[in-house]
């Protein structure tokens, strides 16, 4: 039996540590780098492969050969030789391939010919699950867009790009001109909407950027929206042009991504998933990212510098973006690296034992596929479940796409190409904000009443007062949240000056009552029995508070309401003053409301523990002090409080711990917007509320799920530290009291 009981006792410690270990275990994968296995090697028939891609289920390769042919190759389960090229999709007869652009995100080739024609070939894979097995049968097809002929001179075109935005489609390419220069030509593709669906694509207006160019263009990219072109010059300068449906072009911006590197020359630029960020490479392997951001001063979207990555050992050989997240794979010689844009983290890198011709990231982000210079295909399985997580993502300021400047932010949802923002910092600031306002309200009330109850209150009353406070502690927080969010918040927010003055009024009322009472002659003073002061002070204090409340409206009218002559009436309020003069936001569900509601939750905890520690001060101390002629206030102030200080401190810490983890009040009494300031008139999003709000969106063991576990972990560590320290203090204090007795 003893053994069983031992087990029961020890299991409590185990339980606590198990919670800790379990949650820690759950968040660990967030901090892991990508794991890449040994390669599985295939031999591919050597036909001069220019570029390749693969379908979702990794069953079929597609390759573009030097001859300009497009082939589909089934991949066997095991390594070995890839069978003969099965599907031959050669180009149209007289199309002599001059250059190609392979859009890996969309399985699309943009091909140019020697005589200025551009072809766009989109590769489609349909998956057929009717076989009943896990692996579907993959059927490839090619979608050929209408051929575009750029210019009229039939000169070779190269570096063509194609972009299909929601509103506009664009084909553009570099083309030699008669006088040995190079120009950029663009054509808009139009598609008429008919009642029977979209009509066929037609070639619309064309543009020639020759007059706008300021150098020798080397590469162009088209924005995903189809209304912009980014031109890179051989000297490394970049220019950004806009183009509209009539093919009218305008220079928007020019910049030099390699300004920090003197003498660098441009080698290549590529989009990351989402088409918001371009990575620029120079010829030495230096690469930087610039992203589009809305610049308020300019009121338009411009490219701004965002990230710098570790240099590659040599010039860039092959580049591949992921189509699942913001990672990209770069290679140089036999070196390969997988980097994440958002945090600049290197997810994986290695020197491989073959020279890489081309590398791609498998569409499902579950493998890296390399084609070496000897026509062998190496498939490396990869496990990287949480590429966007990591220490930097959680705690560092980051420059996100679309935003100027480095910020902390939390925004966990969005489309596939949306940059998730998973910073813990704004949530921790929100938690701190809520806690600070809660403590601001709770600490004075709790400590004052603890001193009063332990030192001055009539013992017979104590038996009623303490349980009442305990009942306050047991009020479900969902009720407090409802009360604060639905009932209190409109009242407080409409009368902030009144609330402030009422709170001040309570204490002023108490002070006046005390002063008046002490000046009264003794026979009147004795009418108030000792230990009943709290009862007699309530009336006057509430009366003064009421005056304060009424006066608050006067103050508001006097200070914040003005007569507007143009309207012929009074305008303004405290709320408008805060918004317009101070420039702060004002929400109805704000930190003040939270402070009041959290007061209900925190006051009883601080009260009970600090009252206990003061009551437990050995009686000899008090008796001695009183016997020596000190008044009851002097005894309380100079003897009891210093002796019990450690206990009071631990009460504050435990109260703080409770405030940190409070969930329902935070969820219901604030708007749960991510806020990073201490403005009393806005809400906040705390770690705990964040878990409650987002957990229903989180897929099991996904990045968000584990990140919410991280929120819980941080909460746990916070409260664990506070509580352990507080408990050690209390144990120490108890020992000290025992020594005195």
């Amino acid at each position: 039996m003893t053994g069983l009981i031992m087990v029961g006792g020890v299991s409590i410690i185990v339980a606590v540590f198990f919670i800790f270990v379990f949650i820690a275990f759950k968040i660990m994968p967030l901090f892991r780098a990508a794991e890449v296995s040994e390669a599985q090697t295939f031999v591919v028939p050597d036909k001069g492969i220019l570029s390749f891609g693969v379908d979702e289920s990794r069953q079929m390769l597609y390759v573009l050969t030097e001859a300009g042919d497009l082939y589909f190759l089934p991949l066997a389960e095991e390594g070995g030789e890839v069978p003969a090229f099965t599907v031959d999709a050669g180009l149209a007869g007289d199309f002599e391939l001059h250059s190609f652009y392979h859009d890996l995100q969309r399985d699309r080739f943009v091909l140019t010919s020697n005589d200025g024609r551009v072809q766009v070939k989109e590769i489609r894979f349909t998956q057929d699950f009717s076989g009943g097995t896990a692996n579907p049968v993959v059927r490839p097809s090619i979608n050929l867009l209408p051929e575009v002929r750029l210019g009229t001179e039939n000169r070779p075109a190269f570096g063509a790009v194609y972009s299909a935005g929601d509103r506009q489609r664009l084909v553009a390419a570099l083309q030699e001109t008669g006088d040995g220069r190079t120009t950029v030509r663009a054509a808009i593709l139009t598609q008429r909407r008919t009642p029977f669906g979209p009509g066929p694509l037609q070639i619309g207006a064309q543009a020639d950027l020759l007059d706008l160019l300021s150098g020798e263009p080397k590469q162009i990219l088209a924005l995903g929206t189809g209304d912009g072109l980014v031109v890179a010059y051989t000297d490394g300068r970049i220019e950004f042009f806009s183009i509209n449906a009539q093919a009218e072009t305008r220079r928007v911006q020019g910049f030099d991504p390699f300004a920090e590197r003197t003498g660098a020359s441009f080698s290549r630029m590529e989009f990351i998933l989402g088409d918001q960020t371009i990575v620029f490479f120079d010829e030495t392997g230096y690469h930087v990212a610039w992203n589009l951001a809305f610049i308020p001063e300019e009121a338009r979207r411009l490219f701004i510098p965002s990230k710098t990555f570790d240099d590659l050992p040599g010039p860039l050989e092959s580049f591949a973006p992921s189509r699942r997240n913001k990672t990209f794979l770069v290679t140089s010689g036999n070196f390969a690296r997988l980097s994440l844009l958002t945090t600049m983290a290197t997810r994986w890198q290695a020197n491989l034992d073959f020279d890489i011709h081309q590398a791609i990231i498998a569409p499902r982000y579950d493998a890296l596929i390399f084609l070496d210079t000897r026509s062998r295909l190496h498939i490396k399985e990869m496990v990287d479940d949480h590429p966007i997580a990591g220490f930097t993502a959680f705690f560092a300021r980051i420059q996100y796409e679309g935003r100027p400047g480095r910020i902390w932010d939390w925004q966990s949802d969005g489309g596939a190409d949306f940059e998730r923002k998973l910073s813990m910092v704004p949530l921790m600031i929100g938690t701190l904000k809520g806690t600070v306002y809660a403590m601001f309200i709770a600490v004075p009330i709790a400590l004052l009443s603890a001193v009063y109850v332990s030192q001055f209150l009539r013992p017979s009353l104590k038996r009623v007062v303490k349980p009442t406070m305990e009942i306050m502690a047991s009020l479900p927080s969902v009720i407090l949240g409802f009360f604060a969010g639905m009932w209190l918040s409109p009242i407080i927010s409409n009368a902030v000056p009144s609330v402030m003055l009422a709170v001040i009024g309570i204490f002023v009322g108490a002070l006046i009552t005390g002063l008046v009472w002490t000046r009264l002659p003794k026979h009147i003073r004795l009418r108030v029995p000792t230990g009943w002061e709290f009862f007699f002070v309530l009336g006057p204090a509430l009366f003064v508070a009421f005056l304060g409340w009424q006066f608050g409206q006067v103050v508001e009218n006097w200070l914040f309401v003005q007569y507007d002559e143009s309207l012929g009436r009074d305008v303004g309020s405290f709320r408008m003053w805060v918004v317009q003069v101070l420039g702060w936001d004002f929400e109805t569900r704000n930190a003040l409301v939270v402070g009041f509601a959290m007061g209900f939750a925190v006051i009883p905890i601080i009260f009970t523990i600090s009252e206990d520690s003061m009551s437990n001060v050995p009686n000899a101390f008090r008796s001695g002090s009183l016997a020596l002629g000190a008044s009851r206030w002097q005894t309380a102030m100079r003897i009891v409080i210093p002796t019990a200080a450690a206990g009071i401190f631990s009460a504050l810490m435990i109260g703080f711990g409770r405030a940190i983890g409070e969930t329902m009040i935070m969820v219901m009494a604030t708007g749960n917007a991510v806020v990073q300031d201490f403005n009393p008139f806005t809400g906040m999003r705390t770690l705990s509320a964040n878990i409650a709000v987002e957990i229903s969106e989180a897929e099991q063991n996904g990045t968000l799920y584990r990140t919410l576990f991280l929120c819980a972990f941080i909460l746990f560590v916070f409260t664990f530290t506070l509580n352990t320290f507080a408990e050690l203090l209390r144990q120490w204090l108890r020992k000290r009291y025992r020594a005195v007795e």
Binding site: G9, Q455, L457
Partner: protein, 573 residues
Amino acid sequence: MSSTQPFEKNVRPAGEVWVWITGVGLAIGLFMICFLLAVIAWNGLNFFWPKPLAEISLTEDGRSDFRGERTVPGVIIQRRTLTAENLSPSDADLLDLARDNRDFMREMMIFTGNRDLFATNNFAFLNMGEITSVEFPRELIRIERTEWGDAIGRPLELRFADGRVLGADDPAFVSTLRDQVDEVRDRRREIIRIERRQMGRINALINREELEIRYLRSLAEPSDAQRRELEDRLVRVAELREELGPLTAASRILRDQQNQVRLAFEVVGGHTQVQPLGDIINFYFPNKMSLFQRIGWFFWKVWEFLSEYPREANTEGGIFPALFGTFVMTVLMSLAVTPFGVLAAVYLREYAKQGPLVSAVRISINNLAGVPAIVFGVFGLGFFIHEVGAVIDQVFYPRMVAINTPVFGTGGILWASLTLALMTVPVVIVATEEALAAVSRGVREGSLACGASKWQTIQRLVLPAASPGILTGLILAMARGAGEVAPLLLVGVMALAPSLPIDSMFPFVHLDRKFMHLGFHIYIVALHSPDTEATKPLVFASTLVLILMVIVLNLAAILIRNHLRRKLESAAF
């Protein structure tokens, strides 16, 4: 010896003013609790009180109207003063009007009901400067309906299926209407009995079979046994469906009877509404009611609220499933928490040697008490549901795993109770320890002296003597568990659960079911209902129920504890 005067005549002890200041701290604390309880009690009880129905007339040329009408019926909710800030620019002239008559800067908020007719939300705001009269005609009726909320109007006539018409001025009108509504209610109960109990039972069986069928069909290469099983189950489903036939027919007949009688009543400005009685739950004439009738109605509504199922996505009707769910969850939690907590306390108090280990245990317990509730929820989700639940499913329900329909691998009442048990175990430990300490040494020593072993002493004497204390801890744990919502958000609570966690279906107690909870009900209705202003009174009522539950539990615990302490004081020697 010199006879100096020892005390000044009017000596004032130092710092008395500060005593008053500390006193106000306590005063505020107590005031806050009383104030909160008063607000909730007032608003919560007000929900049940029958409120008079007003008919408000407006000036002919004013801006206020109600769907073009100059007369608005409804319940006056509140009067409030407009602030210059809230005025829309088009109403700016109100400020001029208000110079002569302050009423122009006040408005009246009215619950209008009749949502089906006005296709609006339930409230109207009328400028008080434009109100010419507020009357309370005795004949106004308030009708509670299954759909579209309450209707308010003036009854005109009852129309029977055979074409007979009974006018509202007929002396037998009210009693006939009452009889008819009672009849409809009995029939509705019968329909519910058929549909929810009998058909629900069969449907549940069909669902079970269909899950198995889905699994069997998902197999790529079923064995012969599995083929046979599939056929058997298909036959079984067909049989069950056949059983449903007569029940469906029976309920349809009843449903047809429901709408044979119709009540015509006049709403604002002469719109005549014809309401089939089938949708009427109850009706009353609040303006005619005597005080006793009102009190009777009040208690009737309280009972209805506690015992009925919710309607219209929780925004109307009762809270019975939420109460029941809270109750079942709390009981399950107690079953889990008691042995664990008592064992730990016995170890700490009776067996452990005071030392670093016990210190560590005490710190752990305090930590467990201080860990935020939501962290327990996260743990419950990650460990109980996604680890333990997944294992249970793999072992006992491999077929359900195969068709991706987790049984225990998703939130449910078992996991919710266990999560809350883990959260409340410190409460039980602390209370039990205190109770064990209160058992006098004499009892123990006497028992040991008589030759009983330590365990025998604990088992036969100490634990029974400490049982009130243990009960206290348990009650406190129940109070905490019943009110805590945050962890439940993660481990299986639902806004509207289709079935109760305990019912007449084998195995009667369904630990895997999702459930409704009173606290969660408050959260979801207060924050996530379409019109939060309209549901506020209902939430206040739910809040009152929850708060009473928690306070009663706490008071019980406090009383037992005080009793115990007195015993301890008298037993000490």
